[in-house]
Every structure is written in structure tokens, then in C-alpha cells.
């Protein structure tokens, strides 16, 4: 059955190819550092499930050490502006087809094989259907792009390396933060924070409890980098016992607005690296926090809006009691 293990092997092809390209490039100042970083990343993605946890952890530390010493991107030969303009005018709107094929294949695959069964056979792990479809979409798109643009032979890997180098260590940060979230949960960070919120303010009116719950969701999401990690702890600590049970708040309203308050936190934290830090690298911003700087005003205004909606709609007798 195609599941997470197969997906990991597929995902490993990209850093593996980039590592090989670096190894063959005699010009880069940090040739072996780059080779090692992307090679170890590929190894973890492909073989991690079959290696002991401690070995995997050691390999992660090797990557951290190499990234800390510095991965410098060396220029890769690509096309110049004039050549791009010529090809763009020749290919026209066809250029968009491979790019749009990725979401299109993902969508069709997800909808048509929702239960993972193809012709009655359980071929795909039902929980991974979207990711399998996304992988397939990437393969189809690459095939289309190769047919359409007819690049020289080494170009696909060289272009991939150009983009991977420009993203750099930020590419593995989301997985590191997932690991940190696991360590925080195991160390009981959540309980300390939830207890802190409960003890810090007297939650004696619905409005104060609502503010504590929504702001708590946002702040705790900022710490964990993920609203899904914050929701069980904040809802178990404040949402359920106080906002819902004690003050009689409607559970659907409280939970829905608690969750979107968490999303407001996601917009404001570097811990949500795949949304905030990786895009800054993908778009080659000079400021690592550039995306967060643009998002926080919207996040704060929306958080205030959420508090207002929750406080005025969730309680049967109104919040003023």
C-alpha cells in the first residue's frame, strides 16, 4: 500500500539530486557542507522509518551543525532575461499549464480516489490520498514542463538546486519545529502556560473569560507554532470548564471562534515556519520576518473581532451579566 513511507522516499529524490549536484560542482566554496546537508536530509526522508530513533536524532544534529557553520549558495547557470523573453513569447499562456497541473491533478486525485481504493483494490493509505495526489501532480507537471520547454539535459536538477539553495536551511525548519512541538508537549509546557493564564486573571465574567480564551489561543499558538497543538490545551484549561460549562457558552460558537483565534496567532509567529519563514526564503526577501510584519495588523484586528463575536453571540443571557 502506498503510504507515508513511500511518500518519504519520493520526497527524498529532490534533496538527494540536489546533494549529488553539489558534490559534482567544484566551484562552490561550501561544496561538501552543502552535499552533506542535503544528502543527510534525503537519507532521513527515505530511510528514517527503518533507522533507530537515536540515529535519526544524531543525523538531525549533523544537519543543524552544517547549517550553523553556513550553507552558501553558489550561482547555477540558468537562462538570462533575453532568453526568457524569447521563450515566454513563443510559449505564451502554455507556460501556465504545468504550474496549474499540480493543483489540478491533486484535486482530481483527491476527489476521485477518496477512500484510497482503485478498481476495488486498497492501493493507497486513505489518510495520505491528498499527499499521494500531490506527488503525482508534481510528477505530471514535471513531465509537461520538460515536453513544453525542452531544456538541456542537466537543467531540471540545476533549476531545482537553484531554488533549493535560495530557500536553504529554512526548508527543514518546519520539521524541526514539529519535533520541538513534540518535546514541548512531553515536557508539559502546555499545562504550565494554561495554568498561568487561569491563575493570572480572575475569570469572573463571561467577557473576561472570553478574552482569556481567545488571547490564550493566539498566544499559545504563537508558542507552539500550530493552532491544532494549542486547541486541546486551551479548550481543556479555559474553554470547556469556564467559558462553556461555567458561563453556559454555546460549544460550537466557542470552539469555532477559539480555533480561528488560534489562526490569528499563526499569522504572527516565526514558529509557524512553513507559513511565515519559508515563504520569506522562497520569495528571497531580505527580512526573515517580512511576511509576519505584513500579517500582524490583520491578525490583531481579527482577534478583536473574534472576541466581540464570541462574547456577544455565545452566551444565552448576553455577556453583561
Amino acid at each position: 500500500m502506498i503510504g507515508l513511507d513511500a511518500l518519504g522516499i519520493a520526497a527524498a529524490v529532490l534533496p538527494g539530486a540536489v546533494a549529488a549536484h553539489h558534490a559534482l560542482d567544484r566551484t562552490a566554496a561550501t561544496r561538501w557542507r552543502n552535499t552533506g546537508f542535503w544528502g543527510v536530509f534525503a537519507l532521513l526522508l527515505a530511510a528514517g522509518p527503518w533507522l533507530p530513533d537515536l540515529v535519526n536524532g544524531g543525523l538531525v544534529l549533523v544537519m543543524v551543525a552544517l547549517a550553523t557553520r553556513g550553507l552558501r549558495a553558489a550561482p547555477v547557470a540558468s537562462s538570462d532575461a533575453a532568453a526568457q523573453a524569447v521563450q515566454a513569447s513563443r510559449l505564451g499562456a502554455w507556460l501556465f499549464v504545468p504550474a496549474l497541473a499540480i493543483p489540478a491533478v491533486t484535486l482530481v486525485g483527491t476527489l476521485s480516489v477518496a477512500n484510497g481504493r482503485i478498481a476495488g483494490l486498497a492501493l493507497i493509505d486513505p489518510k495520505q490520498v491528498t499527499l499521494v495526489a500531490l506527488t503525482l501532480g508534481a510528477i505530471v507537471a514535471l513531465g509537461l514542463a520538460l515536453r513544453l520547454t525542452r531544456p538541456p539535459r542537466g537543467a531540471p536538477v540545476a533549476e531545482a538546486r537553484r531554488l533549493v539553495d535560495s530557500i536553504g536551511w529554512a526548508m527543514v525548519l518546519p520539521q524541526m519545529l514539529a519535533a520541538l512541538g513534540g518535546v514541548f508537549a512531553l515536557s508539559g509546557v502546555g499545562k504550565v502556560v494554561a495554568d498561568g493564564v487561569v491563575n493570572m486573571v480572575a475569570l469572573d465574567t463571561p467577557l473576561v473569560a472570553t478574552i482569556a480564551y481567545c488571547v490564550g489561543m493566539a498566544v499559545f499558538t504563537m508558542i507552539m507554532g500550530n493552532a491544532f497543538a494549542a486547541f486541546p490545551i486551551m479548550t481543556g484549561g479555559i474553554g470547556l470548564p469556564i467559558v462553556i460549562r461555567h458561563f453556559g457558552g454555546d460549544p460550537a460558537i466557542v470552539a469555532a471562534l477559539g480555533m480561528v483565534s488560534g489562526f490569528c496567532g499563526t499569522l504572527m509567529t516565526p514558529m509557524a515556519a512553513n507559513y511565515n519563514i519559508v515563504p520569506a526564503a522562497i520569495l528571497e526577501l531580505r527580512d526573515r520576518f517580512g511576511v509576519i510584519r505584513v500579517q500582524w495588523p490583520t491578525a490583531i484586528l481579527l482577534l478583536i473581532f473574534n472576541i466581540a463575536v464570541l462574547a456577544s453571540c455565545a452566551f444565552p443571557g448576553g455577556w453583561g451579566r
Binding site: A160, R162, Q295
Partner: protein
């Protein structure tokens, strides 16, 4: 309280601009040590969680395709399209993408977007081109970075405050599961319904900010 040392390390480390991979590793070791877990145990834990989260690397598989298309002038083409539309401003381009991203996410189509597949090759060049046409020339680095950051933000805000309106999305399933553990039952439809006011507010607030961005860009030009 000492388990919070990890959070303090994160804040200080990020503020000092140290390599985030190093900061995260040290923070994990510190918090775990405060809770009585030894370094060997923590390293194994990091190894397992890192491998368990390997699905996060799948979207990067789009990179070779995007690289090839950029090589063949995809960004040039995206710019040319917007350059020919006189009424398309940076703010309006981004507003259109915000609406598209939010509506498709609300229908459960969250894979129609993303920073690698959509923002870098298509949305950001279009938003930049609109301003370049108005300024009649290349953008200075500050303006360019600000427009790009806005392009990334629009993708995030659109998907976050769209997807919650879709009843079969992960966050609603999580809400049901957590409340059910405590004997409280809610219907997915009710939860999705109460995500709608925030979805509308997100569009109005952020859309308004995008139109303000247009005004600011115009004044600078």
C-alpha cells in the same frame, strides 16, 4: 516554570538572528532537561518527530517544475499579462487572489495555492508588474520586498480563514474530537457556520489593507 526556558531561548535566539535550526535544537534540549529528560532521550525524540513529520517535505517536489518554467520565462509572462491590464494595481491583483484562495478553500480545495506553486511563479510577479507599470521602471528593493511579503500573506490569510468554513477540514474534525472526549457534542455544520463571520471579516479587513497599500504605493511613486 523552568520548562518554559525553551520558549525564552526561542525568543532570544530569533531576536539575535542566530540560525533557527540551532536555536530550536537548544530550546528542545533545555525544556526537556527542565522536565527531567536526558539529552540522549531528547535526541531520539527529535529524530523520531523529524521523521514522522516528513510529509512536510512533499510540497517541495514542485520545485523542479517551477524552476524549469521560470527558466522558460514564466515570471516574464505573468508580468506581461498584468502589464497589459491598465486597471490592475498591486492591491487589486492581491485582492483578487485573496478572494480566489478563500472561496476555493471554503469549498475544501486547499491545494489550489501555496507559496511554491502559486505565489513565487505567478502571484508575486503579477503584483510586482502592476506597480512597475505604474512607476515606469524597476522597483526599489524595499517596495519589491513589501509587495512580495504581501503576496505571501494573502495566500496564508486566504487559506486559513477559508478552510474553516468547509465542514470536512481537519480543524473541525479536531474540534469535534476534543469536545467529544469531554462529553460535549457539536455538529460540523454548526462549527463551520460560526467560522463564517470571521471569514468575512478577514476578507474585509485584509482587503481594506490591500487597498491602503495601493494608496501608499501611489504616494511613493
Amino acid at each position: 516554570m523552568l520548562v518554559l526556558s525553551g520558549i525564552a531561548i526561542i525568543i532570544v535566539g530569533f531576536a539575535l538572528g542566530l540560525n533557527p535550526l540551532l536555536v530550536v535544537t537548544v530550546a528542545a534540549l533545555a525544556s526537556a532537561a527542565a522536565a527531567g529528560h536526558g539529552p540522549v532521550e531528547v535526541v531520539a525524540m527529535i529524530g523520531r518527530a523529524f521523521v514522522d513529520a516528513r510529509y512536510l517535505a512533499i510540497p517541495y517536489l514542485a520545485l523542479p517544475t517551477i524552476g524549469l518554467l521560470e527558466r522558460a520565462g514564466l515570471r516574464v509572462k505573468a508580468r506581461a499579462i498584468v502589464g497589459g491590464l491598465r486597471r490592475a494595481t498591486t492591491g487589486r491583483v492581491l485582492l483578487g487572489y485573496l478572494a480566489l484562495r478563500q472561496v476555493t478553500a471554503a469549498l475544501g480545495l486547499i491545494s489550489l495555492g501555496g507559496h511554491v506553486q502559486m505565489v513565487r511563479p505567478i502571484v508575486a510577479p503579477m503584483a510586482e508588474a502592476a506597480e512597475e507599470r505604474d512607476e515606469r521602471g524597476a522597483l526599489d528593493p524595499e517596495t519589491r520586498d513589501q509587495i512580495r511579503a504581501h503576496a505571501a500573506a494573502v495566500d496564508n490569510i486566504g487559506v486559513f480563514f477559508g478552510e474553516d468554513v468547509f465542514i470536512a477540514i481537519g480543524s473541525i474534525l479536531l474540534i469535534r474530537a476534543i469536545l467529544a472526549q469531554e462529553g460535549v457534542s457539536v455538529t460540523p455544520l454548526d462549527v463551520a457556520l460560526w467560522a463564517i463571520p470571521t471569514a468575512i471579516a478577514a476578507f474585509l479587513i485584509h482587503g481594506g489593507r490591500l487597498l491602503l497599500l495601493d494608496r501608499r504605493l501611489k504616494r511613493r511613486a
